[in-house]
Amino acid sequence: MVIVAILLVLVIVLAINAMPAISKFGFSFIGSSSWDAVRAAFGALPAIFGTLLSSAIGLLIAIPISLGAAIFLVELAPTWLRGPASFVIEMLAAIPSVIIGLWGLFVLVPIVRNPIESWLGSKLGFLPFFQGPPFGVGFLAAGFILAIMVIPIISAMSRDAMRAVPDQQREAMLALGATRWEMVRQAVLPYCRSGLVGAVILGLGRALGETMAVTMVIGNSYTISSSLFSPNSTIASKIANEFSEASSGVFVGSLIELALILFAITLVVNVIARLLLWRMTSVKGTIE
């Protein structure tokens, strides 16, 4: 009951505290891209854009790796390796995000600047995504960091989903003369599809709200740019950077409204993920 109460109070308190901004800007807050504390003009668009794009890049990198790792853990790895390998990947999830950010700032960002960004810029510079100077910090670095942070989640959840597929599915497919890959592709993955989608969406929810590591590598400028090299902000990084310095009521209200928007986005994403994962377990229950 306390848990439900915390959730409700959270929404109400955030909404009340965001009121100065909500009443001043209305819906234009979401569409505006200015952030000017002197003129007290605030808009959320660059932060929303940055949040969605950095998470999308992270997922794009993380999905193939996580699914591959999960297939390896369930279908390929010898029995003695399964436990330790799963454990190692789960350990990755336990590393505090500030440490991943520290590593990202000192190790990953220099690598992203050169060779990755300078190479992409010289070879594929005609594409709008790969234009501009290679800063190192920016969308690309944030995407890599987010991928590192969601890989353990997606691979652990999809491993559980694949494990729940009954062995008869596999045996039937193999008995038809399928190769092991064809068995995975046609008998295992379709069977646990909703579980896999749920795992990915749960990873998305984590990526959207990730704060410290992203704040440390995304560069914190407040613009909208199609280039993946450009420094940017996410909702979470904007709040983390400016909240303790915000002075006026409208400024604080705007940051709290940002928090409310982030909450709403992650709420929708998490509800979808949980429903998919729950459907998965109830399907399993009826078949067994």
Binding site: I95, I99, I100, W103, M212, T266, A273
Partner: protein, 280 residues
């Protein structure tokens, strides 16, 4: 023709399975890279003054994170004291007393609460504790950490309580004791290992949390001054020093990261060892 087709299938099979193994290797390699780098940089930056000295002004050598280590210790205890009773009660309620419908709803709420970005929790606690009290404080940071901890404790407690066989509950009730006595005397002892490991995992999680501390604990140059004053914390100081241009502070950030990673991974390995031992 059919032979060529067969060859194509087997090769495709090998390539795809190979790619899956590479993916798993990649995930493990990333962990090894992060761990290896943090541990080597951290060990070389670690020394006694880091553990025993307070932070010193820029330019003076020999500063340390004594106050922040102590601060993290206090915050974790504060968060645990607030969260464990609530989380345990919720877990017991979910597994023992709630009707299936209510249990499903509360479980769902707990999962949603666990998925809220920790920075949003920080903003929320700022609004309900920091603003009314007109001061950043250790207490507010403890509340923020507790909110993050409650759903983890509740769900793990519930899961381990559900593993206790019903026959044990029935045997206890058949002796004529009340339901509450049966839960406390029979069911909880049976699920104790799972409950304790769940609490340990939650502690590992909040020990490394940074985002909710930014505008609740804030950080402090004066050490620990009580629960109603701002307080420093290890992850917070790592963050500030990581962004610092001074080499000495960056070194301290690595030493702090080393300490934090040892703490968190130490707890995770301990949990794993306990639950393995239970299964054997």
């Amino acid at each position: 023709m059919s032979k060529r087709m067969y060859l194509r299938r087997t090769w495709f099979n090998r390539i795809m399975l190979g790619l899956c193994s590479v993916a798993a290797g990649l995930a493990i390699m990333v962990l090894a890279l992060i761990l290896g780098y943090t541990l080597t940089r951290g060990i070389s930056a670690m020394n006694l003054s880091f553990l025993t000295n307070a932070a010193k002004p820029v330019g003076e050598v020999g500063g340390g994170m004594r106050n922040e280590i102590f601060g993290t210790f206090i915050l974790v205890i504060l968060g645990s004291v607030l969260a464990i009773p609530v989380g345990l009660m919720a877990g017991i309620f979910l597994s023992e007393f709630a009707s299936p419908k209510v249990a499903t709803a509360v479980q769902f709420a707990a999962d949603i609460l666990a998925g809220i970005p920790s920075i949003v929790v920080g903003v929320f606690v700022y609004a309900i504790v920091v603003q009314p009290m007109h001061s950043y404080s250790a207490l507010s940071a403890g509340v923020a950490l507790a909110i993050i901890m409650v759903p983890i404790v509740a769900r793990t407690a519930e899961e381990s309580l559900r593993l206790v066989p019903n026959s044990m509950r029935e045997a206890a009730l058949a002796l004529g004791i009340t339901r509450w006595r049966a839960v406390v005397g029979v069911v909880i002892p049976g699920a104790l290992t799972g409950i304790v490991t769940g609490i340990m995992l939650a502690v590992a999680r909040i020990a490394g949390e940074t985002a909710p501390l930014l505008f609740t604990a804030l950080g402090s140059q004066f050490g620990v001054q009580g629960l109603l004053k701002p307080i420093g914390a290890l992850p917070l100081q790592i963050y500030h020093y990581a962004l610092s241009p001074y080499r000495d502070q960056q070194q301290q950030a690595w030493a702090g990261a080393f300490l934090l990673i040892m703490l968190v991974l130490g707890i995770s390995i301990l949990v794993r060892w306990i639950s393995n031992r239970k299964h054997n």
